[in-house]
Amino acid sequence: MKAYLTALRAIVLREALRFVHQRERFVAALVRPLVWLLVFAAGFRAALGLSIIPPYQTYITYETYIVPGLCGMILLFNGMQSSLSLVYDRETGSMRLLLTAPLPRGWLLFCKLLGSTLISILQVYTFLIIAALFGIQMDPLGYLAALPALLISGLMLGTLGLALSSFIKQLENFAGVMNFVIFPMFFLSSALYPLWKMAESSSLLRDICAANPFTHAVELIRFALYLQFNGWALLWTLLATVVFMALALWGYDPARGLVNRKG
C-alpha cells in the first residue's frame, strides 16, 4: 500500500511541478471562461430571459447562470488538454517510463488523472474568485460544497480524455477529435442555457443535452454551489466516469499494444 501512495504523491507532485512550469497555460485556461463571463454573458443577458429553476430561488442574471457551466468548461478543456499531453508523452517516451513502473496500470493512470484534475480544480477556484470580484458571489459554504462535485466532474472529464488518448495514434489526429468532442459536449449541455430553453427550439436537442454527461457534471456543480444535492446528476456523472475509465483501461491494455503500436 505504501508503494501505491508513494507513486500517487510523486505523480501528483510532478503534475504540480509541470503546472508551475507552464504558467502561461494556467492563464490561458482562465482567459477563456472569463471572456465568456465578462463579454459573452454581458451581451446575452438582455437577449435571454431566465425563469426561476432549481437550484435558484429567485431570478438570477445570465452571468450567474453560466458560472457553473464555465467551471465545467475549465474542467472539460483541461481534461482534454491533459489527454493531449498523454498522447505527447506517449510519443516522446515519458509515458513508457510511467507504464513500466511495477504497479497496476489502472492505478498509474488514475494517479495521473487525479494530478491533472487537482490542477484543474485550482484553476476553477481562481476563476470563481475572479467572478466573485466581479460581483458573482455564492454562499461561502457553496464554494466548499462544490469541491467534491468539481472532483467527480473533473475525474469524469479526465477519464474521457484518457479514453480518447488511448485511441488516438498520433498527436496530429488529436485536434480533429477535440473539435468533435469539446464543442459538441459544451454547446449541447446546460452550461450556457437551461434545458427548458433548449426545448423551446427543439425537443430533440433538449434530449441530446439531457443525455450528455457534461450537462450532469455542470448541474452537479451548480447545485453544490447553492448547497443543494442533485442525486441524478451525481449518478450520471459517476456512471460516465466508470464507462470512460473502463474504455481507457481497455485502450491502455498492454495486450492491445497501444503504447508502441504502429501508426
Binding site: K2, A3, T6, A7, R9, A10, I11, L13, R14, L17, R18, H21, T92, G93, S94, R96, L97, L98, L99, T100, A101, P102, L103, P104, L108, P254, A255, R256, G257, L258, V259, N260, R261, K262
Partner: protein
Amino acid sequence: MSTGLSVTSVSYAYGAKQALDDVSFDVPPGQFAALLGPNGAGKSTLFSLLTRLFTTRDGSIRIAGFDMAKTPRQALEKMGVVFQSQTLDLDLTIRQNLSYFAALHGLSGRDARARIDRALDRLQILDRAGEKARNLNGGHRRRTEIARALIHDPSVLLLDEPTVGLDAAARQSITDHVHRLCAEENLTVLWATHLTDEVFDSDQLVVLHQGRILAQGRCAELRGDAPLKDYFLATTGIPA
C-alpha cells in the same frame, strides 16, 4: 531460478506484418548481451514486449526468473530500462527526475535519496544533481537515464539503442560505462544497437534481422577473424 533474462519462442505481429518470429535467447546473470540488428529488425518491438508496454500470447519472457505474463510486477521490479527516446522531464532537475522514478518504484525519503546519490555517483554526475535536465548535453542526459534505471537495484538492465544521437566520445564513454557496470556489479545487460563498434569480443551477441534471430553466441567466436561489421553484413545479407 535463473536470475538473468530469458526469451523463449516470442512472436509478434502488427496486423499482417510479422515483427518478431519465434525469437529465443538467454542472457545469463552478469552477462552483457548485444542485440545487434539493422533498423526495422524488430529490436524496439522486442523491447516493448520485454518492458510489457505490450504483450504477446506467443512465447514467454522471464526477467530474473519472473514470468512477465504471470508475475509482471515482480518482473518489472527486477528490471531497469533505458528507452531509445529521451524520457527525462527537461524542466525538472536531475534529482527531481530521479526522485520521481524512485517513487514509481515505491522508494521515498532517506532511502531514495541515498540510492539516488549512489546511482549518480556511479555514473559520475552527482555534482550536477541540482541542475535542470535541459542544461545537460546528450551524453549526460543518457548517463542520467542510466543512473535512474539503476536506482532500484535491478538485476537486469535493458537499453534500447542508448547511444542514438550522441557524438563518438559520448558513445564510447556510455558503452564503456555500461560494460564496466555489468562486470563490476554482476548486472545482466541487454543492449540493443545497430552499431557494431559498441559490441566487445567478450559480449554475447544476438543478431536479429527481419524479426528473426540469425545467430547468437560469443562475439569473438561468431566473427572469427573477420571484423564484426563484415560478419554482421554477411550474416544479414545487407550489401555494404
